[in-house]
């Protein structure tokens, strides 16, 4: 078995095990830490796919910012967890059946798709994906609009979040 496949399988095992822990562990701080492990696995996957920029951004944004925010939010609302610790709903098995059905449907669709077992070609020698991504994000014919709109989205999120998080003196 080629080295790449071994790396992929190890990484997939890490992602799936951590993801299962994220949705089942009762202690929410542990759930958030398992999320960090799952996200790290996804970053390795991006590295396997030669998406260098996304691999590091995954760690910078998800582990360096989003996971920290999650952990802080859990610690801020922990009174609830200590007192009552609500885990999962009683009817969790319905959700499990539903999730398995969705998975079965997706896998059925995927394996019956023509050309799905293709392997990737090598990236052409002259292509510098990093500079290409930069150019794509700022050329008006390509992704300039989504790029600028995403900054406005983040501005809106900041304004909204700050507005909600401030305790208003009322």
């Amino acid at each position: 078995m080629p080295a790449e496949q071994i790396v992929f399988l190890l990484c997939a095992a890490l992602i799936l095990v951590s993801a299962v822990m994220v949705v089942t562990v009762r202690n929410l701080v542990h759930a958030a830490l398992w999320l960090v492990a799952a996200l790290f696995g996804v970053a390795v996957l991006y590295a396997v796919l030669s998406a260098n920029f996304l691999a590091v951004v995954q760690i910078v944004v998800y582990i360096g910012a989003i996971a920290i925010l999650f952990l802080f939010a859990v610690m801020l609302t922990r009174r609830d967890l200590v007192v009552r610790t609500p885990g999962m709903r009683g009817s969790w098995w319905i959700a499990a059946v539903l999730a398995l059905l969705v998975l079965g449907g997706l896998v059925f669709l995927i394996v019956n798709q023509p050309g799905v077992n293709r392997t990737a070609l090598a990236i052409p020698a002259g292509v510098d994906t990093l500079h290409a991504l930069g150019n794509a994000l700022v050329s008006s014919g390509q992704y300039l609009l989504p790029f600028e709109v995403s900054s406005i989205l983040l501005l809106a999120a900041l304004v909204g979040a700050v507005y909600l998080a401030v305790s208003r003196k009322s």
């Binding site: 080295a3 701080v29 542990h30 830490l33 960090v36 260098n52 920029f53 691999a55 590091v56 951004v57 760690i59 910078v60 582990i63 360096g64 910012a65 996971a67 920290i68 952990l71 610690m75 510098d128 990093l130």
Partner: protein, 415 residues
């Protein structure tokens, strides 16, 4: 390819040759060779770390008009080894109610986050781990892992001081990450690359400290804050929260937090030298020897590599020394001041600097190199001057307001 011209490649080729001769497959032999190379590099970093313990103690002693360690070995050089033996044989205490797995994972992760930085640190033109094309973001990503280690340590210790220290440290680290990342963009723009190797090579003629002195200043300030060293050491304000997030750690686990902080400081000195002082570049030294105009002193490759490595380590040590200098001469600032300084001053300033650099960077291909350097340097000085003027106007207004208040209070007292 001989030993004298390209020692690293020669040695690795020699080693993998021996391994293949033993009957190992070629790929496995290569992986093993790389593995041994990595272990050697990390061992070098660790040895340096031990040496840094001595440097730190000696320098702080000099700053405080003491002698420092001088009993064990010449100039106390063996002192850090004694420290390590002490740490290793000390009883390791896990506090009651601690989250054991997370508690034990945190120091390993803290050390790992710093060691990972050495994978991209270019020590010389031939001695470097890997030339990653997203190296600058990798630097930030490794920092993110370090932050996660701090959160884990603070949370798992089951101690109020640890938790409070962790909150302060994380607030500090994440706040100053913004100006740091913005400043990392400046060498990226100037060199048109995120790889530390290309950035170093782009500084062959002009170090970026001449193009962006203000950038270096902001980088050093945010690096000190990222490290949580004085004046940003609220995370371990002894009078308030004792030792901060690692208060419950003892023995070698504490040792790793301490060692990784020192190595982190040195590594930041190294990155400052890569980004602004040309990394391993030595003036007049090219790949085959010194070139003083028409006078050429030819040197074998190995000497060039060693001179470059020495230059890099000296520059990094200089950065580290500046960090120590600041640490031992500045008082600690309050948390509100620390946050206000970042969000209201450093972040806007770095964004202005970034915009100006991006605009003027367009001239890089138009102007002659010396003219471009002059334009950049003057623009930086202008930004500094305008900032100082704004700050002075603000301070004058504050002072007037305060005078008015004291005058009113004095009048009220008279009546």
């Amino acid at each position: 390819m001989t030993f004298w011209n390209d020692p690293i490649n020669f040695l690795s080729g020699w080693l993998s040759g021996i391994l293949t001769a033993w009957g190992l497959p070629a790929t496995l032999a290569m992986v093993l060779t790389i593995f041994i190379g990595i272990v050697l590099l990390v061992m070098f970093a660790m040895t340096l770390d031990i040496f840094l313990v001595w440097v730190e103690r000696k320098v702080v002693a000099r700053f405080q008009d003491r002698i420092g360690p001088n009993r064990i070995g010449p100039f106390g050089l063996v002192q850090p080894f004694a420290d390590i033996i002490k740490l290793v044989i000390k009883e390791d205490i896990t506090p009651d109610g601690a989250d054991k797995v997370v508690f034990n994972l945190a120091p390993v992760m803290a050390a790992m986050a710093v060691i990972l930085l050495w994978a991209i640190l270019p020590i010389s033109s031939k001695i470097y781990g890997v030339d990653l094309n997203v190296a600058l973001l990798y630097l930030v990503a490794a920092g993110a892992l370090g932050t996660m280690a701090i959160i884990m340590a603070g949370w798992a210790s089951n101690n109020k001081y640890a938790l409070l220290g962790m909150y302060r440290m994380v607030a500090n680290v994440i706040a100053y990450e913004i100006p740091m990342v913005v400043i990392l963009l400046i060498p990226t723009i100037l060199a048109d690359s995120m790889s530390v190797k290309s950035i170093t090579e782009a500084q062959a003629s002009t170090w970026y400290v001449f193009l962006s002195p203000l950038g270096l200043l902001i980088f050093m300030i945010s690096a000190i804050a990222e490290l949580g060293r004085s004046p940003f050491d609220l995370n371990e304000a002894e009078s308030e929260i004792v030792a901060g997030f690692h208060i419950e750690y003892s023995g070698m686990k504490f040792g790793w937090f301490y060692a990784s902080e020192l190595l982190h400081a040195f590594t930041f000195g190294g990155f400052a030298s890569v980004l602004f002082f040309g990394g391993w570049q030595v003036p007049f030294l090219l790949a085959d020897g010194f070139h003083f105009g028409s006078l050429v002193v030819t040197l074998p490759g190995i000497v060039v590599v060693l001179v470059q490595a020495l230059a890099f380590l000296l520059k990094a040590l200089f950065g580290y020394w500046v960090i120590m200098w600041v640490k031992y001469s500045m008082p600690r600032i309050r948390i509100d001041q620390m946050l206000a300084f970042n969000w209201k001053f450093l972040t806007p300033l770095s964004l202005v600097l970034l915009s100006v650099t991006a605009l003027l960077g367009q001239l890089q291909t138009v102007l002659l190199p010396w003219a471009f350097t002059l334009v950049m340097f003057v623009s930086n000085l202008l930004i500094i001057w305008i900032t100082i003027e704004i700050l002075r106007a603000y301070a004058r207004r504050q002072r007037k307001q305060e005078e008015r208040i004291t005058a009113a209070a004095a009048q009220g007292a008279h009546q």
